[in-house]
Symmetry: C2
Subunit: 434 residues, 2 copies
Amino acid sequence: MPVTDIATRVYDHGWRLDPVVRSLLDTDFYKLPMLQMIRHLHPEVQATFSLINRTTSVRLAETVDEAELREQLDHARTLRFSKKELIWLAGNNFYGKRRMFAPEFIDWLATFQLSDYELRTVDGQFELTFSGPWTHTTMWEIPALTILNELRSRMALKGKGRFELDVLYARAKAKLWSKVEQLRTLPDLVLSDFGTRRRHSFLWQRWCVEALREGLGSRFVGSSNVLLAMDNDLEAIGTNAHELPMVLAALAQDDAGVAAAPYRVLEEWQAHYDGNLLVVLPDAFGTTAFLRDAPKWLADWTGFRPDSMPPIEGGEQIMAWWQAHGRDPATKLLIFSDAMDVDSIQATYRHFQGRVRMSFGWGTNLTNDFRGCDPAGGTGLEPISLVAKVTSANGRPVVKLSDNPAKATGDPAEIARYLRIFGRDGRVEQMPVV
Amino acid sequence: MPVTDIATRVYDHGWRLDPVVRSLLDTDFYKLPMLQMIRHLHPEVQATFSLINRTTSVRLAETVDEAELREQLDHARTLRFSKKELIWLAGNNFYGKRRMFAPEFIDWLATFQLSDYELRTVDGQFELTFSGPWTHTTMWEIPALTILNELRSRMALKGKGRFELDVLYARAKAKLWSKVEQLRTLPDLVLSDFGTRRRHSFLWQRWCVEALREGLGSRFVGSSNVLLAMDNDLEAIGTNAHELPMVLAALAQDDAGVAAAPYRVLEEWQAHYDGNLLVVLPDAFGTTAFLRDAPKWLADWTGFRPDSMPPIEGGEQIMAWWQAHGRDPATKLLIFSDAMDVDSIQATYRHFQGRVRMSFGWGTNLTNDFRGCDPAGGTGLEPISLVAKVTSANGRPVVKLSDNPAKATGDPAEIARYLRIFGRDGRVEQMPVV
């Protein structure tokens, strides 16, 4: 006779909330070294982060219930770093470096709590903003995105039968495993999971990470998700993000200060970190402008992460810059992580093979590819281009240009000013899919 | 924190046997109407059933442990029909007929037990025979096959990791669902599960049946598996099998008696059953010979089940015979059930569409198609051509010819004699795959 656990069943009848985020470590690793530096150098900066849904055709507030969203955001605010998590952050080596996080920073984390939020619904979209000290609002980026994306998945799955769900996940598993089988034909592949922010769900990301571990062996080097890295003894992967040059540029007194901001932030970074953390993210205001004005000392850094230019084009520009500075690209590292999938990973790998060290960060197409998996069809499980960006710093507007004008964020007048400062060279409009 | 049910876990540490067969109803439906008739007309016949592995390349006794096989066979002998099962057999309508099974037969079933077996290992194969009253040995056919096939599956899966198994079953589910999606494009499809004997496992067959129910709706009409039919309120599907003409031919006094046996058994059958149970299985000694000598009254029967000739060729021969006897094939039924899969179902459906009523029995390729599903590769999950055939009756050798000489069973001298009696017309050698 089939055995049903009565306690579990009765609990299921009555449960109130299935939290999307259950740990403050369920975030991307880069947030932590950035946070330590922000706290050290810019503790007084006030920064506002805002949710931006670039897939305007999806009216998010008509899909996800606002009250449910509030419950999840409120639950995330109740979280604290646990003792085990703090001990691990203090004791673990990151990128081979011991004690990356200072004891005093760990002590500060012990009382850390996510700051308050403002939420309203306007014209079918959520206006969700986080205002307060940069040290606190920055930590909302990933949980805000994972909560919204998972609530959207749940709505798309609501009401489906047990069997339909079984087929759906069977197909998604079969699909991912076929991708893994293709990727393991690349002998020197170096790949990590970068799929936290746009994942289908936490449990599905965990399955994906396990699949990579089982299928890719040593080709799979780690996860950007700190919690999954801790739980699975994986490397936590990540360096820094656009918010650093964006905020520093916004706070600059004049155009010259804006133009200098992308390099000043890297000086600050270098004072804090070394080795594999010395990776340049060149595209906050455009890669072409960045390389044109970059100081020579940046050629000593370990690598670059081209993030909004097509990977081959971006990689070639950076390699040409290294060569112009007398460096052998074969000793340097390129990290590709913008909307990668099996085909673009294979093409990029083959293009650069033997000429440069490569590492791939596989995001949305790893942790949220359910295309063709729903027996009932529908588009509710297709990932959308949702971001949480810093939009103001000490009351001044913050701008991102990127290499792709479709990804620019900020006040139009300020965008125009930044375009005058950095120039328009090398910008290619592409519809951001994810 | 993940919850582990301690009682379940501790039980798992210590359990002795996971029975393949847990009910005497876990068999093909045709066994029951045949049993009622055998018991009525031939209660004294002694019959021996023997396991025959036609896939000689697979050395079964080197894969499956003999002691484990004995444990499963012994366990099957402990089974009795439960009260609920007997009440259902007595009260359910089969093919729209009430009280197909006489109360006296139901009473007799209440004490039914599978007979003893003889098992030895010879040259890497099992010699497994069941000797005794035909009424008892006939009931071993399906459990003997399901036990051997499932033990073989278990050996192929032994030692695989949790994750590898997860991918394997995800792929098998995705694969079956793609087949279902192809089949539901056929608007008037009538299909049943005939996959008990060569199933991967009981649980997998149950999943397959659920998939057909979910995906095919009214196109899916039932299962040959009596237990699954009962548990899921499906029609139990099946009529009669080769063993009837085979035994009657073996018991015949002379060649004329052998030649008459296939028709005599149908007279007996007609006296017991009617309607959709009046389906001719024409190929025990060859379809061409059967039709050549068939009496006119057979043209009044509901349909035919061609079983060892290619479906289109077999169907055309039978339709020509109906037309020669002045019957409109459009009012008649053809049941196709020999090694069918999605492609042959579609081709056969399209070939005969509008000209004859059709019903498909989908067997091994429904319940045991794991080709390409094992992440580690290997052939241990490929189905083999395993049958349990009646080999002697009252001490006389029993023969099957079929339309496919590769499927013939019996003593070579007797096969030669039967070939003289029935002729060689229409026989096509084909390697039996499943």
